[in-house]
């Protein structure tokens, strides 16, 4: 069969395609809905479990080490992990974030999804990196102090400087990379939001 090209023909061609849709029975939809709810529950639980793991590891350090700076660093890292878990809880799960929005106009729905992603990415410093930074810095300085207090430390100043220098630089690099990548992604999302706003403003 051939096609001779006109707007009407194209519409007819489009609408006359055979459908492969197999409607989902309502009972199956109920099961899928329950499964989705369970999946969201387990995902939230995993996020909290990760925070609990950090708390446990640095809690161990807190009690294991006597050095004040190490303990202070461990304590602040624990506080940072708890703060991050609280922020995740406050921002809600991915599924809940779109609850009530599914029947909004497409532009409104898509814009709000982009805004949410942009805000999450641009504020990554505030809710993901900064809560950990002070604790990590103090923890590392405390470790450095602990190593320097050892009797034979003066024999290995070069090695100590190298190891801690690389560790500090590595941590700072990871923080900077995460921050930069997220800022770049947020900028890209902003340009998409601007395009939607321009479309919305068209008479």
């Amino acid at each position: 069969m051939t096609y001779d090209n006109s707007a009407g023909d194209l519409l007819n061609l489009w609408q006359s395609q055979s459908s492969e849709l197999i409607p989902m029975p309502v009972e199956k939809l109920r099961q899928a809905s329950d499964m989705l709810t369970r999946r969201v529950y387990w995902r939230n639980l995993r996020e909290y479990a990760a925070a609990a793991l950090v708390v446990a590891a640095f809690g161990y350090c807190f009690f294991k080490f006597d050095a004040m700076l190490v303990r202070l660093g461990a304590g602040l890292t624990i506080a940072g992990a708890l703060l991050m878990a609280f922020q995740l809880h406050r921002k809600g799960s991915a599924a809940n974030r779109t609850a009530g929005m599914e029947a909004k106009s497409c532009l409104e729905f898509y814009r709000s999804a982009l805004v949410r992603q942009r805000d999450l990415l641009s504020s990554v410093w505030k809710w993901y990196l900064l809560p950990f930074a002070p604790g990590m810095v103090l923890f590392l300085i405390g470790q450095l102090q602990f190593v320097l207090d050892q009797p034979a430390a003066h024999l290995h100043y070069g090695l100590i400087a190298l190891v801690f220098g690389l560790t500090f630089a590595g941590c700072a690099g990871v923080f900077a990379l995460v921050g930069t990548l997220n800022r770049r992604a947020a900028k890209d999302l902003q340009s998409q939001i601007d395009a939607l706003d321009a479309a919305r403003a068209e008479p």
């Binding site: 459908s19 106009s105 982009l114």
Partner: protein
Amino acid sequence: MPGSRNQCDDLYREAIFAHGPALDRLARAYEADAEDRRDLLQEIQLSLWRSFAGFDERCSLRTWVYRVAHNAAASQILRSRRMKSKTLVSLEEIEEQGGIAARDNTAESIERGQILERLYAFIQCLNPLDRQVILLYLEGMDADSIGEVTGISSGYVATKIHRIKTILAERFRNGGSHDIR
């Protein structure tokens, strides 16, 4: 608002009966991969069924169905890593690019299957909003109805439809390619 589970179930069945084939075409236009397409169709059906608890009849069933379906598909675009790495373009950008790339002019007319294949590939290059407009246009909706679903003014929809018609006429005349220059 539908008070009971049964009313939601009935609305879902009515929606699938009336708009099922259009939802299938929508899923094909969003997902080239067969398995992803099946997942998207299931997600659209699940979103629809769940949404009917909040259906307040302030808009028609058709508008509601298309909104929910397109929003579910747009969410898929946002979630999909593969789609994130793909650059999506607007109708305006395509028009500025001058429409069509080099094409095979040997055939006077091309096969129906080829036309549809190219049409799907073309639609899959578009950003979500323009994708929604062209899909609703292909379903035979007028500018006012498309505006109601998408949230942009009917005047702007009419401008977009004009662009769509121009681009489609150019692209699908004598076997035009879907490639974007």
